[in-house]
C-alpha cells in the first residue's frame, strides 16, 4: 500500500512537473502543480489497488486532484487551471487511446469498439469529477462569504 502510494505519487509528480515546464508555470506554483498531480495519481492507483474498477478509480483520481487544486488555488490566489491542467494529464487515458488504435489496425472491430468505449467513458468520468468538485466548491465559497458577511 505504502509502496503503491509512493510509486504513483513520485511518478505522477514527475509527469506533472514536466508539463508544468512545458506550460511555462513559474516559481512556487510549479512545485504545487506537481504535488497536486501526485495527489491525483495516488488516488487513482490506490483505488485500483483496493479493487475498484478502472472507471471508478479514474473518477476518484479526478475528485482528489480537483479538490486539491481548487483549495490550493484559492490559497495561492492563482487561477485554478494552473494546477488542474498539469495534474489532470497523468490520468488522461493515453493507454486506452493507444490500445484502441492498435485494435483498429489489427482489424478487430469488436475490440476497437470495446476499447474505444472504455476510453471515452474514462474521459467522461474525468470531466464529471472535475465538474462536480468545481460546482460544489463554488457553492461552498459563496455560502461561506454570505455567512461571513451576515456576521
Amino acid at each position: 500500500m505504502v509502496y503503491v502510494i509512493l510509486k504513483s505519487g513520485i511518478s505522477s509528480f514527475l509527469a506533472s512537473l514536466g508539463f508544468g515546464f512545458l506550460f511555462n508555470i513559474k516559481g512556487r506554483n510549479l512545485w504545487i502543480a506537481g504535488v497536486v498531480g501526485a495527489i491525483g495519481g495516488a488516488c487513482y492507483k490506490v483505488s485500483l489497488y483496493l479493487g475498484c474498477s478502472e472507471i471508478l478509480s479514474n473518477f476518484y483520481g479526478a475528485l482528489g486532484l480537483a479538490l486539491a487544486s481548487e483549495i490550493l488555488a484559492r490559497q495561492c490566489k492563482t487561477p485554478v487551471t494552473t494546477f488542474l491542467v498539469c495534474a489532470l494529464i497523468p490520468l488522461v487515458p493515453g493507454g486506452g487511446m493507444y490500445r484502441t488504435m492498435l485494435a483498429a489496425i489489427r482489424g478487430d472491430a469488436q475490440q476497437t469498439l470495446n476499447m474505444g468505449l472504455q476510453t471515452l467513458s474514462i474521459a467522461g468520468v474525468l470531466a464529471l469529477g472535475i465538474l462536480l468538485i468545481s460546482t460544489v466548491m463554488r457553492v461552498y465559497y459563496q455560502e461561506k462569504r454570505k455567512y461571513l458577511s451576515k456576521k
Binding site: L14, G18, G41, G94, T100, R106
Partner: protein
C-alpha cells in the same frame, strides 16, 4: 481620460489571456473587472470566443466598441497568473491607463523557459509516465530518450509553421518508430509502455481541461470548439502512430 487607449489596452490584455490558454469565462470577467476599476466608466461588456474578442464600453454617454481577431498562441500559464494578479491589484489601488499599458508590456516581455529546459523536463515527465505505467528501469530510461526526441521533433516542426494536426501525427509517428527500433535492439523491452509514456507529452491536456471548464461555465461555443480541438489532436496522434505500427503487424 484617453478612452480609446483604455479600450485598446483592455483588448490587449484579453488577447494575451486567450492566446495563453485561459478559460473564456475568466477572460470576459477579467476584462470587465479591469475596466470597472477606472472612474467614469458607466458600462462595460465583453464577448469572447476562442478566435475573437468583442468589447464595448460607455463613457460620458458615448459607447465605443472594438472587435479583435485572436490567433491561438503558445500555452503560457504564468502569463495568465500574472494578468490575474494585475487585475486584482488595480481594483484595490487604481492606476492610470498608461501605467496599465506599461504593466501589460512588462508581462508580455516575461521570459519563458528555454528550449533546453523544456526538453529536459518534458523528458523527465515522459520518464515519470514510464514509472506510472509500471515500466522496468530500462523502459523508463528509454522513454526518457524518446521524450527528448518528441520535444525536439515538435519544436522543430512548429518552428516551420506546420499545422498542429501534422505536427502531432509526425511526432507520434517518430516516437512509435523509435520505440519499435529500440525493441528490435533490446527485445526484453515492452513497446506499449515506451510508446504510451512518451505519447503523453503530446496529449492535449489544456484543451481537455478548458473544454470541461468552459462547458460548465455555459460558454458552449468555446467548450465545443476546445473539445473538437482535443479530439482532433487525439486522432492525429493515433493516425501518426498507427501508420508506423501498421508495418510491424
Amino acid at each position: 481620460m484617453n478612452i480609446e487607449k483604455l479600450l485598446n489596452t483592455i483588448i490587449e490584455a484579453g488577447t494575451m489571456l486567450v492566446e495563453s490558454g485561459a478559460e473564456v469565462n475568466r477572460v470576459e470577467e477579467t476584462m470587465v473587472r479591469m475596466c470597472r476599476c477606472f472612474e467614469g466608466i458607466e458600462y462595460a461588456d465583453s464577448y469572447v470566443t476562442l478566435t475573437g474578442i468583442m468589447f464595448s464600453l460607455t463613457y460620458e454617454n458615448k459607447t465605443i466598441t472594438r472587435i479583435c481577431r485572436v490567433h491561438t498562441g503558445e500555452v503560457d500559464l504564468n502569463r495568465i497568473d500574472q494578468i490575474n494578479t494585475l487585475s486584482r491589484s488595480i481594483c484595490t489601488n487604481p492606476i492610470s491607463v498608461d501605467e496599465l499599458a506599461n504593466e501589460l508590456e512588462k508581462i508580455k516581455k516575461m521570459s519563458r523557459y528555454t528550449f533546453k529546459e523544456t526538453m529536459l523536463f518534458g523528458a523527465v515527465g515522459a520518464a515519470g509516465f514510464g514509472i506510472f505505467f509500471n515500466g522496468t528501469l530500462l523502459e523508463i530510461v528509454m522513454s526518457f530518450f524518446i521524450g527528448i526526441l518528441i520535444r525536439c521533433m515538435s519544436c522543430f516542426l512548429s518552428k516551420h509553421k506546420l499545422n498542429s494536426f501534422l505536427n502531432n501525427a509526425i511526432s507520434a509517428g517518430s516516437a512509435a518508430l523509435s520505440a519499435q527500433l529500440i525493441h528490435l535492439v533490446l527485445p526484453q523491452t515492452n513497446v506499449d509502455i515506451m510508446v504510451i509514456s512518451s505519447f503523453m507529452l503530446l496529449v492535449p491536456g489544456l484543451a481537455i481541461t478548458n473544454a470541461i471548464r468552459d462547458t460548465i461555465a455555459g460558454d458552449y461555443v468555446s467548450g465545443v470548439a476546445r473539445a473538437a480541438d482535443a479530439f482532433l489532436c487525439a486522432v492525429a496522434i493515433a493516425v501518426g502512430a498507427g501508420f508506423v505500427m501498421y508495418f510491424w503487424i
